[in-house]
């Protein structure tokens, strides 16, 4: 794809400039929501959706090539499988102490970032799974049906 055609993809200059400023902040906010899921409102589900929305924002503003260069479909499906395997292996590691889904790590000091045992790790796994899954759904709905119109 030539340089000129890439400039034409996506929306106008105003939208692109604003997107360049805000997309990093949206991603950072999603990561904050995931990591503090056991202390403040939030958790893996909304954090994953916010992270997926930051990539979708990039795709809507710059066209699909720029976003797919950052995270393409194969890597997104790999992230989703990694989230599922991580969640299941955390659950299976509970057999060390007794039963499935045992909270086997020490609780730590309450109200700190590193506390509550396996719950932050589970939050990260859920975030990977939800974010990659929803991004994959959006890419499939937009890209595959748009290719057909040409």
């Amino acid at each position: 794809m030539s340089k000129m055609k890439q400039d034409q993809a996506g929306m106008t200059l105003i939208v692109k400039t604003i997107t360049r400023l805000t997309v990093g902040l949206i991603l950072l906010y999603g990561i904050y929501i995931v990591l503090h899921g056991h202390l403040t409102p939030g958790g893996g589900f909304p954090g994953g959706v916010i992270i997926a929305l930051s990539f979708i924002h990039l795709m809507l503003a710059f066209g699909k090539e720029t976003a797919l260069k950052k995270l393409d479909q194969i890597r997104a499906s790999l992230f989703e499988s990694a989230g599922a395997i991580m969640f299941l292996s955390i659950a299976s590691l509970g057999f060390v102490g007794g039963y499935f889904f045992l909270n086997f790590i020490g609780k730590g000091r309450p109200f700190n970032l590193f506390s509550a045992g396996t719950i932050p790790l589970c939050n990260i796994a859920i975030c990977l799974k939800v974010g990659a899954g929803l991004f994959l759904i959006f890419v499939t709905l937009v890209v595959l049906s748009k290719m057909e119109e040409r």
Binding site: G42, G43, G44, L53, E80, A84, G108, I119, C122, L141
Partner: protein, 173 residues
């Protein structure tokens, strides 16, 4: 709780607009108004986790719905005459609302729940898991099997979308 009633009336009006308007894109935008009102109600009913999740999910749902309706060359839809269907639907809804009004008296009054299971979580949740957010401790510790089932459903939905939309093996149209 006057603000709760006002928001519920707003949601009902927005839902009726979404159902009855002819233009598909206006209908999708009205459904977005219903979802954002639901997010505000979650905030009033002291569920901040759900408010964040509903807000974000509503935006993504709106983007996907607009993607489905845009560029399809049918901005106005014809409803047609369908008298028997309308009559039977309205009759069923009236019967349903009457029976629901009778049976709602058996529910606990609004604002005074029973809390038989949840009292245990409220008492022991912080000591057993060490998480300050009790919703998070219920989702990922006490009831983690629910989350596992949710992950399975999400995986199945993603696979279903990929299978339905793929182009490999499809006949040339």
């Amino acid at each position: 709780m006057i603000e709760l009633h006002l928001l519920l009336l707003f949601m009902i009006v927005a839902a009726i607009i979404a159902v009855e308007v002819k233009d598909l894109i206006s209908s999708v935008v009205a459904v977005g108004a219903v979802g954002l009102g639901l997010s505000l109600i979650f905030l009033i009913l002291k569920a901040p986790d759900l408010a964040i999740t509903q807000l974000v999910v509503e935006i993504l749902c709106l983007i996907i719905l607009i993607r489905a309706t845009i560029k399809r060359d049918l901005p106005l839809i014809k409803s047609g005459r369908w008298h028997f269907n309308t009559f039977s639907t309205l009759l069923f809804i009236i019967i349903f609302l009457t029976l629901a009004y009778v049976s709602l008296k058996d529910l606990p009054a609004f604002g005074y729940p029973i809390l038989r299971v949840a009292a245990n979580y409220l008492k022991e949740g912080f000591i057993a898991t060490g998480a300050a957010n009790l919703v998070s401790s219920v989702v990922l510790d006490f009831r983690a099997y629910d989350t596992l089932g949710e992950a399975t459903v999400l995986f199945t939905a993603v696979m279903g979308v990929l299978v339905v939309m793929r182009r490999i093996g499809r006949k040339h149209e």
